[in-house]
């Protein structure tokens, strides 16, 4: 539990967060923008967008599918339902038709013998690339041709953005982030408000808007408008480490609805504001909050020459792992048998496996690996925005059962996650299935186990210990 002296917890439990979110998500559907363009324009734009993003790599993958069916073994949505339409290779079929007709080597022939794409084809595609694909990449692990279905799905989402066919909840949040720079109303005002609350109630200082700092930390709307404990935990850890850190009110949001919806322009816009803030303050390290897709949005952003930036971008679990390995995290031991769920975006599609495990090791955890863990981990079913989609509820619920079995097989009492989407999905699944496991977030776990010297709360700036 918290090592500070008995202070009443004012922030909701995560179960309450989860339930609150469900209500908020429900309202999103009403706020979704309606299509404004004519049908044929929507189709044309979708095709233009898709082709503009199709290079030799995508073309080779589209050419390579041999319909062997092995991808169905790996996909949680197919395994949970057995329905043919959820087979990963189905997602490529429309893409392949468009590619073959537009820029394929035999396109003159295909233009003759295949029918042109219609809006209803794109409408049918929606379910395949939004509702039933979390871009988790597990199918790529089994495909004998090594096809990267997830990246093809990403391009398809981009096309559907152009066709005004983004599912309503995602469309609403994308519009909000695009036009107002916020999601769920989490503005810099909300940030300021919660920073004040944390300082006043918990005595934990969060250095906001320092003109320069070594470490720039991101937050996210989930923490700002719902899960205050997340931000609190982050601040505790950063202060414990004694690093020169800050949060910038003009670049604090990890979530990137450009990436989630497929809107490439918004992806660029949103990540540009973050990196601009980091450059402005001369940061050396940018720490991304526990928001899975933020990792590919920033660290693995293919549009920005990351090596040319003056700072490195790391995920929260990576940062904590580094600190743990360097012995800078003083942690009490953790009870019970622990297992770790690698988020798809930071594990299999991000490469940050060792660091979170180093953190758990620093807590002397009685650790057991999930069967089919690490790069073979089953997706929780809620990523890539699926958690927000009401109509994907059945798919999420059914595929989560695979997760339950996987965790149960370890005999662990607690499963640690390090991604807000995963955590929300796990929590919802835990409640619905009356699951007897505890679900913990890595950052909150670390904060709860910090051994802090009994001193007054850290002041605004501290002599920097390099991160």
């Amino acid at each position: 539990m918290s090592t500070s002296t008995a202070v009443t917890a004012i922030f909701p439990t995560f179960e309450q967060v989860c339930q609150g979110f469900a209500g908020q998500i429900g309202m999103l559907r009403e706020m979704a923008p309606k299509p404004t363009l004519a049908d044929d324009v929507r189709v044309e734009r979708a095709i233009d967008t898709l082709i503009a993003e199709t290079n030799a790599g995508e073309a080779v993958w589209l050419e390579s599918c041999i319909h062997c069916g092995q991808c169905t073994t790996a996909c949680h949505f197919f395994q949970a339902t057995g329905e043919a339409k959820y087979a990963p290779m189905r997602k490529m079929e429309l893409y392949r038709r468009i590619y073959q007709r537009e820029i394929g080597p035999f396109r003159w022939w295909f233009k003759l013998i295949t029918s042109p794409v219609k809006l209803k084809d794109l409408e049918a595609l929606q379910e395949l690339v939004y509702d039933s694909c979390s871009e988790c990449g597990r199918c790529t692990m089994v495909c004998p041709m090594g096809i990267d279905t997830a990246s093809l799905v990403h391009h398809l989402r981009s096309a559907l953005v152009a066709a005004e066919l983004v599912p309503p909840e995602l469309a609403a949040l994308t519009a909000e982030q695009k036009h107002r720079g916020t999601i769920f109303g989490a503005s810099s005002d909300a940030l300021l408000k919660i920073v004040d609350t944390i300082r006043d109630h918990y005595g934990v200082a969060i250095p906001l808007d320092k003109p320069s700092a070594e470490v720039m930390v991101l937050s996210s709307a989930v923490d700002l408008v719902a899960n205050g404990n997340g931000l609190l935990a982050t601040a505790r850890i950063m202060n414990h480490l004694g690093v020169d850190w800050t949060i910038c009110s003009d670049g604090f949001e990890s979530a990137n609805f450009g990436l989630l919806s497929g809107d490439m322009a918004l992806w660029r816009q949103q990540s540009a504001s973050i990196t601009a803030a980091a450059q402005r303050i001369g940061a050396k390290t940018l720490v991304i909050a526990e928001c899975g897709h933020a990792y590919p949005a920033l660290r693995w952003n293919p549009m920005v020459a990351g090596g040319a930036l003056p700072f490195e971008m790391v995920y929260m679990s990576e940062y904590l792992g580094r600190q743990a390995k360097a012995g800078r995290l003083n942690l009490t031991p953790i009870e019970g048998k622990i297992t770790y769920h690698d988020p798809c975006k930071t594990g299999r599609r991000g490469g940050a496996f060792e660091q979170p495990r180093a953190v758990l090791q620093a807590m002397n955890a009685d650790y057991v690996e999930l069967p089919s863990g690490r790069e073979y981990n089953w997706c929780c079913g809620g990523g890539a925005g699926i958690f927000l989609l009401e109509r994907a509820t059945r798919l999420r619920d059914e595929s989560f059962k695979i997760k339950i079995n996987q965790v149960n097989a370890t005999g662990a009492t607690t499963v640690v996650v390090s991604c807000a989407s995963c955590r929300l999905n796990f929590e919802a699944g835990r409640i619905k299935n009356h699951w007897d496991k505890q679900v913990a977030s890595l950052v909150e776990l670390v904060a709860d186990h910090l051994i802090d010297p009994p001193a007054p709360a850290a002041t605004a700036s501290q002599p920097g210990v390099p991160a």
Binding site: V60, P144, G350
Partner: protein, 216 residues
Amino acid sequence: MTLLEFARGPAIHWALIILVAGTIWRLLGVLALTRGADLSRPRDAFGNYKGYRTVFSRAWPSGEFNVATRYQTVVAYVFHFATLIVVVGITAHIEFIQSLTGTSWPALPNAAGVAVGIVALVSLFALIMRRVTKPSIYCSNRGDYITWVLVAAPLITGLMAFAHLGPRYETMLAIHILSVALLFIWFPFSKLMHSIWFVFSRAQSGLTYAHKGVQI
């Protein structure tokens, strides 16, 4: 011109021309497209070697996946190897290849060639049975079935010709050669191109993941 003369002459000749022209057309037409760049900083300097490794390591599915995956992989390998042995091991085939390229190698005894040919055919039937009985897994289209027929036909007609089953020998031989001609013509326009694509598709994903520090 008899059917056999047609088969051995213009039919197989033009089939080879279409095979070569079509395959190179398709390969270049795809590989010469733009290459997207991933500008993000790679995780480690463990180099592209680890990424290209996927071309070979993907030859066997991870034990993480179920037994059915390994079953299909085994049957597919049996089919591929048996067919390859039949194609390069039977005297008449080696003669044909020698007449085109000048190289030759010792042949298998006919009995061995026939035995391996039967193994190839049986495994091919096992594969189509699986495809037909599990439609939701396979999402088969017309191309899948046409490919199966055009691959099975040379095996079946070759065995029939050898065993003197069916029409007169020279007619059966002509049919066998025509079925091979059809297969050659179909090759560049079908999923059979996976025999070349697999190198590129695996390498691409291997590199993409190795960039992030994940070995697949």
